[in-house]
Amino acid sequence: MKLNLHDISFAYHLDIIIKDINCSFVSGNFYSIIGPNGSGKTTLLDLISGFLAPCTGKIDIDQKPVLSLSTKEIAKKIALVSQDYTINFPFTVKEVVMMGRHPYIPRFSQPSGNDMEKVNKMMEVTGIRHLQDRKINELSGGERQRCVFARALCQDTQVLLLDEAFSNMDINHTLQMLSIVKQSVKEKNKLVISVFHDLNLASSWSDALLMLKEGEIKAFGNSQDVLTQQTIKDVFNVTSIVEFNKYVQAKQVYYPSI
């Protein structure tokens, strides 16, 4: 499966957020999007998920334009873990995770045995099974993010978009979630695109990095090529030391204190 972006541009009123982006994402790979605040990372994910329509250009999923599909069809192909994980009413954890099965459950029907099984399994692997009857708004930020993450896994889609999905998790849970994702990419040939702020995690876990600055692609490729002192200086305006770390088996970035 392949996701193609052709000449994508997007603007809110006159502010251009995304400028002429061309790229392809192929399943079986874990991609990371990195870039400074306001560089258009989230907007790019919104365009891919069909939540926003590009001003120019088009996005194809397996040669079909995303916007030609209904929201329900998109929901069976693309899942999104958004940055905004506040939930306005006190649903239980289990109810929230079950919402991931929404596109598959017909109106007026109860969840099938298969749905229940998936929900229980995903709560198990994300380590929130013991919280299942708790109210979502009583949990900590990191626990809530794991619920939202489990919900997206239940959606059982080929494409998974993560918008800073780990921002509030401790390092133990972050690594657990990343390994779940990585495993599904390799074993089930899924496609994951994740927005990261931590360059080192992005480098060690992803197959390719996409570096955004002011809505344009500054670099796209494996971490070896993308992460250099020069690109990091250009994009983030910080001085850094970048070197291959043999324990991590990937490039790592270090920031000297001033």
Binding site: F51, T71, K72, L80, T86, F89, E95, V96, Q155
Partner: protein
């Protein structure tokens, strides 16, 4: 659910028996049974006056009242879900002010001679308000912020403020009709007919069906616009359909019985403590609870109190403190 239905039926029976002429409950059951089964012989040996009291006076009023309570509660539940705010009520979007404005015009122009005109004007006013509010908060350019709860609440408040100034002006120029306007605004179920009941029931049944059809989508809306869309909810369509449904329910209630506050706010909010926030359970239970509560209040004002006081005043006077208590208690549990 079944328990609540039983409560409601019991309340209807009790309410039927109470009033200026009190009728034994057994007689009521016999009469109702006879009417429904078509077995008129059973009725023959009951008193004629009971029949008139039940079928021409009390039953239409009681059923209209229950219908209005149910519709207000469903409408309140919908608004709380769409506006992502457990404190929203059917009047948040200014529907009540619109209806009141319409009714004031009808009363002022002395159209009340023709029977339907006050409710019809009220209904038109409510619908016009709704469309103005939706128009104000809708933007085709930016799908993300259009119809967001903040926009809707803000437009609703602005429109309602303009309309209440308009109502004040109408009252000012109304002279001797001002008391009619004030009484209408306070709400009452006195002298409701079968026609009112049928009108409310049609809206209630359609509205309830639509609400249940989209109940699961309404659950997902509470995850936020982006997550709901990514889970396959057509946000714009669901929002508009449910807004119109909720407002139509509120509009029919206001046009039939005037402005009755607190039922739409209090009932779904309280029922949520029992059922949790799942709208598939919340909406049907709110409907029954709303019917029960409003009928209870109406029975008190009709049969228990020495003078009939406007039901809108009674619900706000009793509902308000109850709400304060629930609010305080739930907050620090």
């Amino acid at each position: 659910m079944i328990l609540f239905s039983l409560f409601l039926v019991l309340m209807i029976l009790i309410s039927l028996s109470m009033g200026y002429i009190s009728i034994p409950i057994m007689d009521i059951i016999t009469i109702l049974y006879g009417k429904i089964s078509g077995n008129l012989q059973i009725i023959e040996n009951t008193r004629e006056v009971y029949l008139a009291v039940i079928f021409d006076v009390r039953l239409p009023r009681i059923l209209t009242c229950a219908g209005v309570g149910a519709a207000l509660a469903v409408s309140g539940g919908l608004f709380q879900g769409i506006l992502l705010n457990p404190l929203a009520d059917p009047y948040t979007l200014g529907v009540s002010a619109g209806a009141a404005f319409g009714a004031c015009i009808a009363i002022l122009l002395n159209l009340s001679a023709a029977f339907v005109s006050v409710p019809a004007f009220a209904f038109t006013g409510a619908c016009t308000t709704l469309f103005v509010v939706i128009f104000l908060s809708y933007s085709s350019k930016n799908p993300m912020s259009g119809l967001s709860s903040n926009n809707l609440i803000l437009s609703g408040i602005i429109v309602a403020a303009i309309l209440s100034a308009g109502i004040s002006f109408l009252k000012f120029i109304a002279n001797e009709q001002v008391s009619v306007i004030i009484f209408w605004l306070m709400g009452s179920f006195a002298s409701k007919t079968w026609l009112d009941f049928i009108a409310v029931m049609i809206f209630l049944i359609i509205g309830f069906f639509i609400s249940m059809f989209y109940a699961r989508d309404l659950n997902l809306i509470s995850l936020g616009a982006k997550s709901a869309t990514s889970l396959g909810v057509n946000l714009k369509r669901v929002t508009i359909i449910l807004l119109v449904t909720g407002s139509m329910l509120a509009a029919i209630c206001v046009s039939v019985s005037g402005i009755i506050g607190f039922v739409g706010l209090l009932v779904p909010h309280t029922v949520r403590f029992i059922t949790g926030p799942d709208n598939r359970k919340l909406i049907p239970l709110s409907m029954l609870a709303g019917a029960f509560l409003l009928l209870f209040a109406d029975t008190i004002t009709r049969a228990v109190l020495p003078h009939e006081i406007p039901i809108g005043v009674l619900t706000a006077l009793t509902g308000g403190p109850v709400f304060c208590w629930i609010f305080k208690k739930s907050k620090f549990k």
